[in-house]
């Protein structure tokens, strides 16, 4: 009778615990029931089982939260990398009168792979250099 009651209370524990520790828990509860009484042990098993279920649920929820946060971070990093690869660098140069230094700078950009377009005004010369 006592054993049957404690066996029933063990159902409060998650299936995994019952699978691995059922015998040990039942024997311990039977031992303690001899000095503490079966009712006290039965309530102890019910409380312990529900607490174990809650603990496992919290752990699972935390794991899901970490997974979701990782997924969001990875999505952002992927999007950021994709956006970065499509961006264009742009520099503009303008000079008035003697333009030797500016032209040298523009030539250096062109050698570095920049595409520069020149536009001349009445007094100024401008370049727009871009690089993917």
């Amino acid at each position: 009778m006592r054993g049957r009651l404690l066996e029933l209370c063990l159902l409060a524990y998650p299936r995994a615990v019952r699978h691995s520790d059922r015998e040990q828990l039942r024997d311990l509860a039977l031992d303690l029931a001899e000095s503490h009484g079966a009712t006290r042990e039965a309530f102890g098993l019910l409380r312990g089982g529900l607490a174990e279920r809650a603990r496992r649920w919290r752990t699972r929820r935390a794991a899901v939260a970490v997974g979701a946060a990782t997924a969001v971070a990875l999505t952002f990093l992927t999007w950021s990398a994709a956006a970065q690869s499509g961006s264009v660098e742009e520099d503009r140069f303008t000079c008035v009168g003697a333009c030797a230094d500016t032209e040298a700078e523009v030539d250096a950009r062109v050698r570095d792979g920049w595409a520069c377009t020149e536009s001349r005004g009445p007094d100024t010369v401008s370049w727009r250099c871009v690089r993917d």
């Binding site: 828990l25 102890g44 312990g48 174990e52």
Partner: protein, 102 residues
């Protein structure tokens, strides 16, 4: 704390721990199997105790536990903290109250 203290003397199974805790606490702490199982799992997760195998004793399957080095350190620190607190409180109790001091 009582569970760590009961394992300080060596390996014990769940029933032995429950009996020792009751004795250590002068009967004030009486662990049920459910409470003890949860506490031992938490202490194992924290690395303070570890399983030390299972043995069949008097026809019943007993799982033994032992204190880890971290568990011993934790127990020592906790005992020291309680000793310091008791000393501070004891010194306060020893002071005779001054009449009229609010």
């Amino acid at each position: 704390m009582y569970i760590l203290a009961s394992l300080a003397r060596g390996e014990l199974h769940g029933y032995g721990i429950a009996r020792d805790v009751e004795e250590l606490s002068d009967g004030r702490v009486r662990l049920t199997a459910g409470t003890l199982y949860g506490a031992l799992n938490r202490l194992s997760d924290d690395g303070l105790v570890e399983p030390a195998g299972e043995r069949q004793v008097q026809g019943r399957r007993r799982r033994y536990y032992r204190l880890t080095a971290a568990g011993h350190t934790e127990l020592t620190a906790e005992v020291e903290r309680l000793r310091a607190a008791a000393a501070a409180l004891g010194a306060r109790v020893a002071i005779r109250p001054t009449p009229g001091l609010a």
